[in-house]
């Protein structure tokens, strides 16, 4: 059973995370897309009754996550498309946004603790380390964006009724 399951996976295929988004605006040769809700909240059995949806969680914030792609496929407002992000992009993005500030924060805190051994000094150094790390993140994120590493790619038009979970 296990053998057949493993052979069904094509590991040579390009690793790509897929998502579904809706076209909300067309500007020249670019289109603005808003991603549809992901797999966790949307598929929850109590999603319709969940109070957290209205107070700034996933559903109400999707509009802030709108993004732009080239309109090579002549997309129109209201169309649903499948877009892709290379799998290693999420890891790169997570490292840039979270791991770097966390590392500088801990390094600064550990250094202050070793040098002065006082909680207030360690606290101040930790906050300073966090600020420095966020600055480094900003520079690195700018480079990633310039290189186009973070850009989503248009894959195809979504089939009627197709969802992130289907």
């Amino acid at each position: 059973m296990g053998e057949s399951a493993y052979s069904a996976t094509d590991y040579s295929a390009p690793a790509m995370m897929e998502g579904i988004a809706q076209v909300v605006a067309v500007e020249g040769d670019m289109v603005w897309l808003v991603p549809e809700q992901g797999s966790s909240c949307g598929s929850c059995a109590s999603a319709s009754a969940c109070g957290s949806r209205g107070i700034g969680t996933t559903a109400s914030r999707l509009d802030k996550r709108r993004f732009r792609i080239d309109n090579g496929a002549n997309l129109a407002v209201g169309e649903r498309v499948v877009f892709g992000i290379r799998e290693n992009v999420l890891l790169k993005a997570s490292i840039t946004a979270y791991a770097i500030p966390l590392t500088t924060m801990l390094l600064a805190g550990a250094l202050a603790q070793w040098k002065y051994g006082s909680d207030p000094v360690t606290m101040a150094a930790t906050v300073a380390g966090l600020a420095i790390g966020l600055g480094i993140s900003r520079v690195l994120a700018g480079r990633l964006q310039t290189r186009g590493d973070l850009a989503p790619l248009f894959l195809r038009r979504a089939r009627p009724g197709e969802t992130c979970n289907s």
Partner: protein, 193 residues
């Protein structure tokens, strides 16, 4: 130094927040259907848990304890966690809108993650020093992320398996989590006493 390493090891593996303390089971079941989602959620939780521990320790030491406001601890920590999530979201958005598009989806889900509140309350209950608190939170968060990633990998394989209909989906997921918890019990003899 050895004391700090042991603290991190213990919080990550011996007293793992998910498999040892049974906290944060919602994201464990909800965000582990895909490995990439588990990595994103794990990294975001690690950041928020560590920063919330830093803020929680500071508020508790400088405000709650000196003024005898210990009875407000739980509600204060909930406020701190919500503020930390908001702060992180704002910062990530400011640092890079592209990163926010990729990672922003995981942040609001952390507000209701009981593991973050649990860790903040535990480090205050244990009367840890500042640096110990931060390392305890970081170790707990790394343990949390490790389990998310392991479980997501297992679930991706389970999706290809021929599971009886009665057990398909969440039931087999819970059975796998319980087996993982049993495996993690093997670390319990290795903690510093």
């Amino acid at each position: 130094m050895k004391e700090y390493l042991l603290l991190m090891f213990t919080s990550a593996l011996v007293n793992n927040v998910i498999l040892g303390r049974f906290l944060g089971l919602c994201p464990t079941m909800g965000v582990t259907t895909r490995l990439d989602a588990a990595v994103g959620m794990g990294m975001a939780t690690t950041f928020v848990m560590t920063v919330a521990a830093l803020a929680g320790w500071t508020i508790n030491t400088l405000l709650l304890e000196p003024f005898g406001l210990g009875y407000l601890r739980t509600i204060t920590f909930i406020l701190i966690i919500a503020s930390t999530v908001q702060f992180t979201e704002m910062v990530v958005r400011k640092v890079s809108p592209s990163l926010f598009q990729l990672l922003g989806i995981y942040l609001p889900l952390i507000t209701t993650n009981c593991a973050v509140l649990g860790v903040a309350l535990l480090l205050v209950a244990d009367k840890m020093s500042f640096i110990s608190s931060v390392l305890f939170a970081l170790g707990s968060a790394l343990g949390f992320s490790l389990v998310l990633v392991m479980f997501a990998g297992l679930r991706e394989r389970l999706a290809l398996m021929d599971v009886p209909r009665l057990f398909a989906g969440p039931p087999i997921g819970f059975i796998v989590v319980s087996l993982l918890a049993l495996a993690f019990m093997g670390f319990s003899g290795m903690g510093a006493s």
